[in-house]
Symmetry: C2
Subunit: 576 residues, 2 copies
């Protein structure tokens, strides 16, 4: 029997003090917290054999002030040159600032920061005011061979902005965060790269008030990091939003881009299609800061009609049935859902427990043959024209029924929608008590989905006391993604890294891509040559050499472009 | 009054003899003819002041046998080396074969061939049997610095396969024309590049009989050249089919590609999406033979359900109304039509006359305010799921009504569908009597559409006695294409080329892309640097240098990669 008043760990509600390690790694807003619920604590105790005692002492919280003791390697002349370009108020060599803009949101970064360990930092932080600043900065850095890193939202989960060679970090969110133009005729928006998700989406939603537009619009792009990631980041890392099954991935949304590179400054054309040779607009997508700096981007926008949105959720009797129905839905050519997610049996059962399913419903489902560790939850929404959303939802219900799914109404999807951006807040709470939660994601064609799911799960579950929850949440007629969430206790950062490398190995071995939407960064870079093959890596290296002959743009491992090709896979992954 | 029995020119029904110039330039099947109807003759007389007398003497019909008098420049050793690779039966130095595989279907090629003029030819024609042959050929040519051209369907309308540096031409349709694999789970088809449209589509339509598949499929790609173009050609030139508004352009259909290049042989991944850096699959699209040889391609396929197809046609009161309604339709997010076309006033009126509109209907339309040289015809179809096609058609009708269009039922679209591949057959008939019909096409964003249409038309119509008919036939939320058809009498090929160059200038000047779906080839190449800008041309040249350091792949102007950048626009266009 559960006690009447369950034990509640002393989850921290202390906002991290300015200048501390924790201020760097805490997710999202410094004053916002979202703690694991009681059912989480029950699960942690059950899974990891933890007792109330284990929730008394905290591991590295990173409450100390950051002090680097690492003087920058730029000369006074060089620093003055940057001050001349952007103004002295827009550069800093402050220890905390240098550290803050050197970090993304990987687990290994959190682990090290919690222990007061700072890895690589830039020598100087620079806040460009506009694209002309960026052009002058890149020209200067080319002449002086100063490495250039770009920090926008800072939500990278693969060490994508780590300044391993020092130099400067450009912060895009300080000034270059403006919504420049809404073109209603073409249904496009032109923005600076440092605009955050909410500012972008709000401007579009409020287009009549803001731009005297005739309609409201939406960007259609809602990654989990939406509140703390930027449009520029979405584009250069090939991100994907939660409604991508309908709206497309970031790469699909991009109409044109403007870049400053060591090899020149250019803007691609705005044509919706053209047969004019290989497209530079495509070549730049996913370049992750290694070719140049994105200074403007024009994206497709869509009509904003939340009144037409429809919600649905189902319980499928099995993963196999859920996958088959989903494939049928996305190949059916009646229009596609916007959000569409299926959870595997472990995620379904843990989800039902963690987010509270009334026991009467659970009992009912079991009676109907929807058994624990077999049944699979499906959530989704439909957007677009009113009659279109009605048709799509009806067809989805018909197909789900054919695969013996039980319709659960819209409640589950509405509930999911409310919390869809805030889940990451829990990771510091868990971290404080020695529990690590992390994710890896991949894309896969339908015919390899089950082997990949089984293979990766087998590896993760072979580790004692490790939770593995999986969902597919971005659907295409030719396949989907798999998103693996794992929770475990690790013996420090090297232990964790070794485990994580093993998961990446398994993804690759079982036919998954190295990433569906998180990108490559430095974390997954060592697998790139095996993944692409020497010939295709050579293509990327040729482009790199063209744009950046002196290797000053995000140098030091990004995308694997300047890694020694003899060192592959997890051989290269080690403690910093 | 029209005479009871109208004058009929003596249109040729003599199939070109084997080995003749005409056998090279005649469109399509040698034994198939489609002559301009009586209304055409009336138009030609009216427009060009032609009399019955003008239809008595023919200009250069090219009935002579091709004789080159140009020995190949390959040594006996080199020719033997190719024979060793593919077998002696798969190479030839025959004059006619060398000429035949050097030609596409531009008007200037027809004009010159009609006069017995042969421009550039390869030294040797090679028919590779499989991708391993191609690999060995490219390796050998790299060592010997022998230029390599690729001939597949031969429907290029921009001199895209002209062997200006001699060397060899690879003919892909002889052996490398197989349908390799249908993957029903992923809904993809893997084929060799030399498979023609009908063979590809028929294999998919007959999937149950051919592959024991559970369903019938369609490739969704139907360019006007469908019967005489190949899947490989569609991909490397960025083609677009008549139903692209629904199915997407060739570039959208490509899942993965396998290439043999001087820098190596590789196949890209089959993932429907991935965030793993810039995509080599995208980089190769549109490379027009300059990077390497496409040896296999995997494409998306779709469910084939012709029973769900719905037809519609409308008359809009004006071009402005037609454009506004079309934009509303494609931005409406209720699903898109498959075929969707709007004709401008000149095309509408000429079309009504040329293809016969009952005078009662014409009278009725005029009475309702649909006036000649204002009214615009719209044709289309809807494909996909049954209820989806019903919804899309209903919405299209609602929107068209809002823009005061008159619904004309499905007859016009069905009639168009029947003849949609055979229009090009008329060009030799017209050519024989000194009339030139040709097209140029471009893409444009909605906000530049009217200026582009006006600007290009003004240039064309400024030329006395020149017909200009325009339609838009590929629609995107962000814009469309414009397809200009012009008919005139030209004083030889240089006169024609100068006029054509002027049209390209006007397209560029008024904000159109250099091509929506015909590609660049050598014909439009001189405009590329102005179009892309030096910085983006440099990106393409860097890729070219990587894949093909010795410039043996389709060298001599293709895509403008190896043109002297100082020579731009029509300065470089001159008689061969």
């Amino acid at each position: 029997m559960r006690p009447v008043k369950p034990f509640r760990p002393d989850w921290s509600e202390r906002p991290p003090k300015k200048g501390t390690f924790r201020a760097i790694f805490k997710y999202g807003d410094p004053n916002t917290f979202k703690h694991p619920g009681d059912q989480w604590v029950t699960m942690l105790k059950d899974e990891f054999g933890m007792t109330d005692e284990d929730f008394k002492s905290r591991r590295g919280e990173g409450r100390e002030k950051v002090a680097l003791d690492r003087p920058g390697r730029l000369s006074a002349d060089q620093i003055n040159a940057f001050a001349d370009i952007v103004g002295r108020e827009n550069i800093t060599t402050d220890d905390y600032q240098r550290a803050r803009y050197a970090y993304g949101k990987t687990v290994e970064e959190m682990m090290e920061l919690g222990q007061g360990i700072i890895a690589d930092v830039a020598d100087l932080v620079v806040h460009p005011r506009h694209k002309d600043d960026v052009r002058r900065i890149i020209r200067y850095c080319s002449g002086e061979k100063i490495p250039v890193y770009v920090f926008s939202g800072g939500s990278s989960v693969n060490l994508g902005l780590r300044p391993v060679r020092g130099g400067i970090t450009l912060v895009m969110t300080t000034h270059m965060n403006r919504f420049l133009e809404l073109n209603e005729t073409n249904q496009t928006a032109r923005v600076q790269p440092g605009i955050f998700g909410p500012a972008y989406e709000t401007a579009l939603n409020q287009a009549p008030e803001r731009f005297s537009a005739t309609r409201r619009y939406t960007g259609g792009h809602f990654p989990q990091s939406f509140e703390f990631s930027t449009v520029g980041g979405w584009v250069v890392t090939l991100g994907s939003g939660q409604a991508s099954t309908y709206y497309g991935d970031a790469a699909d949304l991009v109409i044109s881009q403007e870049y400053v590179t060591p090899a020149g400054h250019f803007k691609t054309h705005d044509y919706p299609a053209a047969a004019t040779g290989p497209k530079v607009n495509d070549i730049m997508k996913g370049s992750e800061g290694t070719f140049g700096v994105l200074v403007e981007v024009t994206l497709k926008v869509f009509r904003y009609r939340p009144e037409n949105r429809r919600y649905f959720s189902f319980m499928f009797p099995s993963w196999k049935a859920a996958v088959m129905a989903s494939r049928e839905i996305v190949q059916g050519e009646f229009g596609r859902p916007a959000v569409y997610r299926i959870s595997d049996p472990e995620e379904t059962d843990r989800g039902l427990k963690l987010y509270g399913i009334p026991s009467i419903v659970d009992l009912f489902l079991k009676k109907r043959g929807f058994n624990p560790m077999q049944r699979c939850l499906c959530l989704g929404t439909v957007e677009g024209d009113r009659d279109f959303t009605r048709l799509v939802k009806r067809r989805i219900r018909q197909i789900a029924r054919r695969y013996r799914a039980f319709y659960l109404g819209g409640y589950g999807s509405r509930k999911w929608e409310k919390t869809r951006f805030t889940e990451p807040y829990m990771r510091e709470d868990l971290h404080d008590f020695g529990i690590t939660i992390d994710t890896l994601e991949t894309s896969v064609t339908w015919d390899h989905l089950h082997a990949l799911h089984r293979g990766v799960r087998m590896y993760i579950k072979r580790r004692p006391r490790t939770v593995c929850m999986t969902h597919a949440s971005h659907f295409y007629p030719q396949g989907t993604n798999l998103y693996f969430i794992f929770i475990g206790r690790f013996d420090g950062v090297d232990d964790y890294r070794a485990f994580q490398a093993g998961v990446i190995d398994q993804i690759q071995k079982h036919g998954g891509s190295l990433s569906h939407h998180h990108g490559i960064g430095r974390m997954i870079a060592p697998w790139m040559t095996d993944y692409l093959g020497e010939e295709q890596m050579a293509v990327l290296r040729a482009l790199k050499k063209h744009f950046d002959p002196d290797n000053i743009m995000n140098p030091g491992g990004q995308l694997g472009l300047d890694l020694n090709p003899a060192r592959r896979g997890n051989q290269i992954r080690k403690s910093t």
